[in-house]
Amino acid sequence: MIRAFGIVIMLLSSLSFFGQNSNIHHWASGSIQHNPIDKLKIETEIQYRLNNGGVIGQRSISVDAQYQIFKPIQVSAHYRFSQFPNQHSDINHEQWANANRWGAGVEWAVLETWMKKPLLSINYRLQWQSESYLFLRNKNIIRQRIQIAPNWKKQKWTPFIQSEWFYRTNQNQYWLADDLVITGGSREWRHTGGIGYKFNNQQKIQLFAMYRKFEINKNDQLIFGLNYNYKINGRR
């Protein structure tokens, strides 16, 4: 336990060093997980995304439900309510702009399709999401993610790497004479590496570094994140 906290503090110290760069962002989140039945997992998360200097760029609360329909396949539903600094406060005189996101996805544990207890876990996730904003166009996005992690059942530490691609189905919207033209396009890549630490059956943390490469602008971001997760019925 003490070693774990030591490493966390060490990592957070490094964040403040990298935080001098304007493209360094910090994400912090806490989540509660509940498994009403063996195959169903419900997770509620509160997340803060901080820009350089500790200014809140986004804050959100989300609910995820994941259900394993059979061994290697898991489906999920997602909702997120988030708030951003309002860029159009001249219109509604509100400090924050709200957004709602709904999503659904499917995740496939690739190696477990053929192997009973593979040493490595390779998971592929396909997710659709639609997010509506008060003064921005809706974002309709298809996400594809692949994650690789070792299956260290008795280790408290679990490293992982993942890459995720975002394709926005309504990336471009413009009028051509009397016709509204909507076209899709690649929006973003997220390359993440991190490590999870399990304190016990109920509590775990995850530290990660993520590189967000945007296809629509040059404002790429390096993100350092910390997530704390508490599992209510941790004995399951």
Binding site: I32, H34, P36, I42, T44, I61, S62, V63, Y79, R80, F81, H88, D90, I91, N92, N98, A99, N100, S132, Y133, L134, F135, L136, R137, Q173, Y174, W175, D178, L180, I232, N233
Partner: protein, 252 residues
């Protein structure tokens, strides 16, 4: 603990319901477009006439000069020395004669005052006058072109220092590169603006359902500045729709 999850979900859904309200502004899929025509207004000039008079000793009984008006009602002003028994009126055809009684002892400033009074007595609707020593300065009240005056038999100096010119307005034509303003809802200040293209057309894209006001600026007829709002209101009632505005006709 199940209750925590349950209430968290309810909380999230409550946020969801409270934040779904849409209002006029960006972030939609509708379009407002229109067209701007403009007429170029050339502002005319008043005619300014300067009459420099002489002393009474330099005038003779029967000397006269002529002044004209834009409406064609013209005058001649003749000098009448009452010590003379002969008729000094030149009796010009097509003009109205106005006598100015003088003596040989009159100073030039006295002659200037008498000329000023005589002009005001018949032409005050057409000219404003100003006395400046031996000068009478006439300024036409309207922007008009007036046939030139003449000193004829007097020794006065009569100059047209500014030729009158009528106001003029071109026929309306498409107005490129004109700024057009968009106001969301019932706001007082504009939220975004655009400019007309080469054909005088403009459009505002990505708008949500709601009420909007669009305006362009035209020349104020009193001040001559581009400050008069020409405004139209429009309401977008459904997504992915086009709202066509009437043509804006402005004066610049």
């Amino acid at each position: 603990m199940k209750k925590i999850i349950f209430f968290s979900s309810i909380l999230a859904l409550t946020f969801s319901m409270s934040s779904c309200e849409k209002m006029a502004g960006p972030g939609g899929s509708s379009l407002i477009r229109g067209h701007v025509n403009g007429s170029n207004q050339h502002t005319g000039k008043s005619e300014i006439v300067q009459i420099t008079v002489t002393r009474g000793i330099e005038l003779e009984h029967g000397d006269y000069f002529i002044l004209n008006q834009a409406n064609g009602s013209n005058f001649y002003f003749w000098f009448n020395n009452t010590t003379w028994v002969s008729d000094g009126d030149p009796h010009l055809m097509g003009r109205t004669g106005v006598p100015i009684i003088f003596t040989y002892n009159d100073a030039d400033t006295t002659i200037a005052r008498k000329v000023n009074d005589a002009i005001l007595s018949v032409m005050s609707n057409s000219f404003d006058t100003q006395l400046n020593g031996d000068m009478v300065i006439l300024t036409s009240k309207a922007h008009v072109a007036i046939p030139d005056p003449d000193d004829v038999t007097t020794s006065f100096l009569i100059d047209v220092s500014q030729q009158g010119q009528a106001d003029d307005m071109d026929a309306p034509s498409v107005l490129p590169d004109e700024k057009v303003y968009l106001v969301y809802g019932d706001g007082e200040y504009y939220n975004e603006s655009t400019r007309t293209g080469g054909t005088g057309d403009f459009q505002f894209e990505n708008l949500q359902i709601g009420k909007y006001k669009v305006y362009v600026l035209s020349m104020d007829s009193v001040t001559g500045n581009m400050t008069q709002k020409i405004e139209q209101s429009v309401e977008i009632t459904k997504d992915e729709s086009i709202q066509e505005l009437s043509t804006f006709n402005i004066v610049y």
